[in-house]
């Protein structure tokens, strides 16, 4: 291993600009002549717009234009789309209601976009928005996930009279029911997976610009996938054809899923730029972000686990209602279906699985992918069930898990997935050792002496990452292919530029991708530049989400590097006067097999460009290669997290005393960055379990719309983490990497709740496990104890 190659904890290239204040985020950009947009949003969760009068407001100082849903209709701006088709059990397609960028006749959640004011300053735009006259007919609002389908519920979209987007299922119902009928023991659990607000620290922003000379639009936007944004804005929304629309996603301050989607605001900014003849900028404030960034999770689930007389799991079934909000966001339909139910086998050998999911409309902010997307929900179901079953059967939860783990690979689950590699018992053993699991009894007694309750909770998670191959996701309803592209441009002096379709918004791609290039080409790390986030530079790409940039994005670079090396060998053959078949490439040097004739990579790059040693008929000059990489399977990162908590039964307050994470991400490129990803994921998972929760009141008003009301994890809510690794290389990509971005968020919630329920002696503790919730659980447990 070199000091900058694969496996080295190289310090990040991108950090210098961030620590010196020179990062370039969308809101840092100002375009000449720029005007400002302010969105007038619905104050009602559900209402008809009876009248909308903007004439008076248009005369206010600084106003350039006020646009509404009527203008959207006149200009034939297409609606926002949901790009993953889900079919119901009966074969009918999902019921997608219209989703105009500005409301047309009806608003469906608080924060829905009613009109946009474009003015010289943000202040003037806000002032003018107050002068817009609107008459609403307020309708009853449906807010609760579990009751949205009830008879008599307010109808949110005419296309779905029962507020049901789809009734989907996966697995063999008859076989699963038969296994339950034959079971020795059945464990049942009811769970709510709480709704979360993603909250990247950089709020969303957009600048739309139109060059009337060339007829070209430019959109600067906070996106995790600028090419997908361009594709949707071109092919579906119809702003401009792709060659007339440039999308730039510069430095992006975190995404966690919420910046995958194509929203109303950037659509309106780019469309309005042509209408007003000026660049149009919008920057979200934090309350707007709570109102309009797609939320995550929000499932209500009943699940059951069947075991035989030997404590072997024989079947699992689950019924979930997933809240999709007031409209279908870009990928929302896939999250509670194909990103959820195929993970219900967890790390366990379960012969029979059946899952039903109803996706429902409510008068709330749209729900879509948030870090983990479906897989945290699946893991929470599986790991709460397994924990509860072990306790009911009187078995040690670690032993029960080990007994039921999948032990040979490849393993075909009954719910689509073929797990390719893993050693779950190894991760469990290592985690138990680091967590000092053997001595938990002693630590519990110590806590008890101080009047405290100590608990320990395991979470054995698995995730399916990469979200590919394209054929597979296409057969499941995806509207796009999920490969990745890369282009490697070698300059005449041997420096290298890599253009990738992945996008970095905290993951450190500029460093890890350069490590790969440095290792394979033998060029110095500092001579490699990674370029991403601009559709004028990178030809195409699918962006970053689903922990896919290592497994898919880097594999595309790997393939392009293969081609560069092959081309380099052909050039070297002319330079070294040997046949191409005799040229070897290693450690940055081309050599003629069995001789001391050699040329280094930079010298061959130069020869490729000056082209003096070969004719153009024999070989094309230059050294630039591209690749599109489509994997052969999903990747399956897996691991074991162990959380140890101490609860004060007098107050219900919970402290995390110790956190152990042992993950198998396959081959690790940069352990420093990978550990950082694990830390961040755990913090978001702990946030879900202990602190965070989006709350609406009965009228559909969002009551958690600022950091005064929505509890973000802060430094003093968390401990330092003990992170370990095990490695089984991934067989389905050339690097053997699996992906690490979501693991912590997937594993953590079940580990926390398993620990708290262990501490308080009661199975039910809802997320977020606030002091009040935990105190009540303590009370219930002691009443139960007294009754016995």
């Amino acid at each position: 291993m070199t000091s900058t190659g694969i496996g080295a904890a190289v310090r990040r290239k991108e950090d210098h600009r961030f620590i010196t204040g020179k990062g370039r985020y969308t809101d840092d950009i100002n375009r000449p002549g720029q005007a400002h947009a302010y969105f007038l949003r619905s104050p009602h969760a559900h209402a008809k717009i009876k009248s909308l009068d903007v004439q008076g407001a248009k005369t206010k100082p600084g106003v350039l234009a006020i646009l509404t849903g009527d203008d959207i209709a006149t200009d034939k701006v297409g609606g926002l789309i949901c790009g993953w088709m889900i079919h119901s059990k009966d074969g009918s397609p999902m019921k997608a209601g219209p989703h105009p960028a500005l409301a047309q006749g009806k608003v469906r959640y608080v924060g829905d976009h009613v009109a946009v004011v474009i003015a010289e300053t943000v202040g003037e735009a806000k002032d003018a928005a107050e002068a817009i006259k609107i008459e609403y007919e307020v309708l009853p609002a449906e807010v609760e996930t579990a009751s949205a389908q009830r008879q008599g519920a307010a109808v949110i979209h005419d296309v779905a009279p029962d507020n049901t987007v789809y009734r989907w299922h996966l697995g063999d119902k008859a076989k699963t029911d038969a296994a339950f009928a034959a079971a020795k023991h059945v464990t049942k659990i009811d769970l709510t997976n709480n709704r979360l607000a993603p909250n990247p620290m950089e709020p969303r922003a957009a600048i739309g610009e139109y060059d009337s000379g060339d007829g070209v639009f430019t959109l600067y936007t906070t996106s995790q996938n600028p090419h997908v944004a361009r594709l949707v804005l071109s092919a579906f929304i119809g702003i401009a054809p792709e060659h007339k629309l440039r999308v730039v996603a510069p430095d992006v301050g975190g995404g966690f899923g919420s910046k995958i989607f194509i929203y109303a605001e950037e659509t309106v900014c780019v469309w309005a730029a042509k209408k007003v003849g000026r660049p149009v900028k919008w920057t979200s404030d934090r309350t707007e972000a709570f109102l309009s960034d797609a939320h995550g999770r929000d499932h209500v689930t009943h699940a059951e686990l069947a075991t035989d007389e030997n404590g072997k799991i024989t079947a699992l079934r689950a019924r979930t209602i997933a809240n999709l909000g007031g409209y279908l966001s870009t990928f929302s339909s896939s999250v509670p279906t194909y990103l959820y139910a195929p993970l219900l086998s967890g790390q366990y050998d379960i012969a029979n699985i059946y899952c039903e999911v109803d996706g429902v409309y409510t008068n709330t902010t749209p729900v879509d992918a948030y870090r983990g997307a479906g897989r945290p929900e699946a893991t929470f179901v599986v790991e709460r069930l397994v924990e509860a079953a072990a306790r009911e059967l009187g078995q040690d939860p670690a032993k029960f898990r080990r007994k039921n783990y999948i032990k040979s690979f490849p393993h075909q689950t009954p719910v689509i997935m073929t797990y390719d590699a893993g050693d779950y018992a190894a991760s469990l053993a290592k985690a138990m050792e680091i967590a000092d699991y053997a001595n938990i009894g002693k630590r519990k007694r110590e806590s008890a002496k101080n009047g405290k309750l100590r608990g320990i909770g395991i979470s054995s998670y698995i995730e399916a990452c990469g979200i590919a191959p394209s054929q597979a996701v296409g057969s499941l309803g995806a509207g796009v292919g999920l490969w990745e592209s890369a282009e490697v441009r070698v300059n005449p002096v041997g420096t290298v530029e890599v253009l990738t379709g992945s996008h970095s918004h905290g993951q450190g791609h500029e460093t890890t991708f350069a490590q790969l290039v440095s290792e394979r080409l033998g060029v110095p790390f500092e001579n490699v530049a990674i370029i991403h986030g601009d559709t004028d530079k990178v030809q195409f790409g699918m962006g970053t989400y689903g922990s896919r940039s290592g497994a898919v994005g880097m594999s595309a670079i790997y393939k392009a590097l293969d081609k560069v090396i092959e081309k380099g060998k052909k050039v070297a053959a002319y330079v070294l006067e040997a046949s191409a078949g005799d040229i070897e490439f290693k450690d940055g040097k081309f050599t003629v097999k069995g001789t001391d004739k050699a040329a280094d990579f930079g010298a061959i790059a130069l020869q490729a460009y000056i082209a003096h040693k070969f004719s153009g008929q024999e070989l094309e000059p230059g050294l630039k290669e591209g690749a599109f990489y489509d994997p052969t399977n999903f990747t399956f990162p897996a691991g074991v997290h162990i959380c140890e908590v101490e609860v004060d039964p007098g107050t219900g307050s919970t402290r995390i005393e110790r956190w152990t994470a042992v993950d198998d991400f396959g081959v690790v490129i940069n352990p420093m960055i990978v550990e950082g990803q694990v830390h961040g994921g755990i913090a978001q998972g702990v946030g879900q379990a202990l602190l965070e929760g989006v709350r609406y009141n009965a009228d559909g008003q969002l009551v958690t719309a600022s950091y005064m009301d929505y509890a973000m994890p802060r430094a003093d809510d968390l401990p330092s983490f003990h992170v370990g690794m095990t490695v089984t290389p991934c067989p389905s990509n050339p690097l053997g990497v699996k992906g690490c971005g979501e693991a912590g968020a997937i594993a953590a919630p079940a580990a926390v709740i398993n620990a708290i329920t262990d501490a308080v002696g009661h199975e039910h503790v809802a997320m977020p496990a606030t002091a009040e919730t935990v105190w009540k659980a303590c009370q219930r447990a002691s009443q139960k104890l007294a009754a016995e």
Binding site: H16, R17, F18, G21, M201, P203, I682, A715, F721
Partner: protein, 165 residues
Amino acid sequence: MASVSMTINGKAVRANVEPRTLLVEFLREHQRLTGTHVGCDTSQCGACTIHMDGKGVKSCTVLALQCEGAQITTIEGLANGEELHPMQAAFRENHGLQCGYCTPGMIMAAIDIVKRKGHDLDEHVIREELEGNICRCTGYHNIVKSIAAGAKAMRGHAGLQQAAE
């Protein structure tokens, strides 16, 4: 419009601003110092932390006009030419940042913590003191490490610190 003068990163600045202009707006929009970020509307997240007369201040809670005669240091003014401030270097060395958005505020707050609490900071103190700065990426683990290391490295860099103020 009202006139205000202050010193920003060692440079005298005079400007006419609307009275309602926040210091963070003045820095970002008028002075083009975009390293100072805005992450919330409620003075909770700390992404806009700067130093005003040597003290850590959230620049979203101060009007530009309140800074008459003040010495302001932003993230852009921390390094001494090419030489990073020890706290900046510590964040890079300890992977104390991911997306970089909260980072300027974190670094400015961290230096303020060292000034108030000294160079030997234990984890508990750092975590308590970071209550006013939110990070969504790192889980704070490496930020805590960075600040502990940066605090130690700042010992003996008093001259550099003063230069930066």
